[in-house]
Amino acid sequence: MTNITFDNFSVKLNGKRIIEDFNLEVHSGEFIVLLGSSGSGKTTILRSINGFIEPSEGYVKVDDRKISELGKEDLRKMRRKIGVIYQDFNLISRLNVIKNVLCGRLGYLDSLESSIGKFPEKDIELSKKCLKRVHMSDKSDQKVNCLSEGEKQRVAIARALAQRPKVLLADEPSANLDHDLAHDIMDLLISLWREEKETMILSTHDLGLVKEFCEDKRIVGIKSGRKIYDSPIEEFSPSIAAKIYGGDYEF
């Protein structure tokens, strides 16, 4: 079953083409790596899936519904099915860990009650489970400012999991972490994907990481907003790497 479809998708920002004629079909439960250097348009592609960026031409569909044609309420309901993990974690810095995870539940909760800080017991339980999944149960009451970078990303992953997402978008999830932590986070994301079987799109500029963790995954290479490669990593060659990164690239 197709889960996400880009068709003829183009984005213009301030008259400049960011994405050009991008086509992609992502099947339900598939793991896709968006590979490209910084500024190649990976984030724009991810942000268009949950409607933060509108296409200038073409469309993106999730579960067979065009995102740009969704009304406010439908878009909100669509967004809660799409968990996002960010490069900078984007946690709410002044809230504690469990509250941050609970924020992942907001789309399902009564607007007024959750705004006065009342969360149903089952949502609190679910959030605790999500924290357990990322091995952060013991830090539940800490303020997120006190956590290490790796721990912050774990909390952010728990928040995305709390949405019970059908799609997980991970935008350079390990780019702000040092080598070991980056590997931890990649391990975690891949094991989550194996267990949960949700669709996962992970963007990265790091070819080394891809070779280490995503050897059996479908790689979509992007250069200046255009798709220039779409195959498993086995078919990846130095010339393709050179195309993606420009100039000489040591493979």
Binding site: R79, N90, I92, R94, C103, R105, L106, K143, N145
Partner: protein, 261 residues
């Protein structure tokens, strides 16, 4: 070419400032001799306030007036804050709705253009003499002033945090509650305390036109030329303003420290 342009820009700015000063002095009758001649009279006025009147009955009466001034400031700031929170959220470029933003901004700009003493005069006419009109005047002024401080503060928040909440499917209310308020709280507290400090002074002033508090007493004793009474009132006002400023600075730094642990 470029440096010449820079110089001519500087010269132009300087000329503009000089022109503004010349224009401002027109008809004001600036006079150093008058100022110098006035100095002894000013000190005489100050000296007349000493020793301040410390009779128990007068002191109690003055403390009552001071209490009323502080009450006006607390209530005025609180009412103003309650009204201005939703207004400033809708006036900020990054949070407010497209049209609501312009309307809220326009409204805040108009309110802000009227000084607190004028508000007091209008409310004295509308609801009569006394502290109630003082509270209304201080509230009105707070709306205009605090509104601008807050919406500019809201415009500085980290949009990434807000968008993360939005992307979880949060409603507008939830987005404000979890994407805006937590990160804006230190800013809100800091600006509101600043407004309160300002309002303690403003509440003293509005009394002069009859809107209650220590200002009313000041006005009366100035008219009666009972300067030692004026001295007491001013002393009380200065001490309380200093204490409030100090306390508010303490709260601010403590709160900010706790927030950034």
């Amino acid at each position: 070419m470029n440096s010449k342009l820079k110089i001519s820009k500087k010269v132009f700015t300087l000329l503009l400032i000089i022109a503004a000063l010349i224009w401002a002095s027109g008809g004001i009758e600036l006079s150093i001799t008058r100022l110098i001649r006035g100095i002894p009279e000013f000190f005489e006025f100050i000296m007349d306030m000493f020793p301040p009147n410390l009779e128990q009955e007068f002191l109690l009466n003055s403390l009552g007036a001071l209490r009323e001034t502080i009450q006006i400031a607390i209530l005025g700031t609180s009412i103003g804050f309650a009204i201005v929170m939703p207004l400033s959220l809708s006036a900020s470029k990054n949070i407010g709705p497209k049209y609501g933003r312009e309307i809220s901004r326009g409204f805040l700009n108009v309110i802000r253009s009227i000084p607190s003493i004028l508000w007091a005069l209008m409310f004295v006419v509308a609801v009569g003499l006394g502290p109630f009109s003082g509270v209304l005047a201080v509230s009105a002024y707070s709306i205009g002033f605090l509104g601008k401080l807050l919406y500019e503060g809201f415009e500085d928040i980290d949009m990434k945090q807000l968008n993360a909440i939005k992307s979880a499917g949060a409603t507008k209310l939830q987005t404000v509650r979890y994407g805006v308020i937590p990160q804006a709280t230190p800013m809100i507290i800091s600006h509101t305390l600043y407004m309160f400090e300002y309002n303690v002074r403003a509440s003293a002033i509005v009394g002069i036109v009859g809107a209650g508090g220590i200002g009313r007493e000041l006005e009366t004793y100035l008219q009666l030329r009972l300067y030692s009474n004026v001295g007491t009132l001013l002393l009380l006002l200065i001490i309380s303003v200093l204490i409030i400023d100090f306390a508010s600075a303490q709260i601010r730094t403590r709160y900010l420290q706790n927030g950034n642990q």
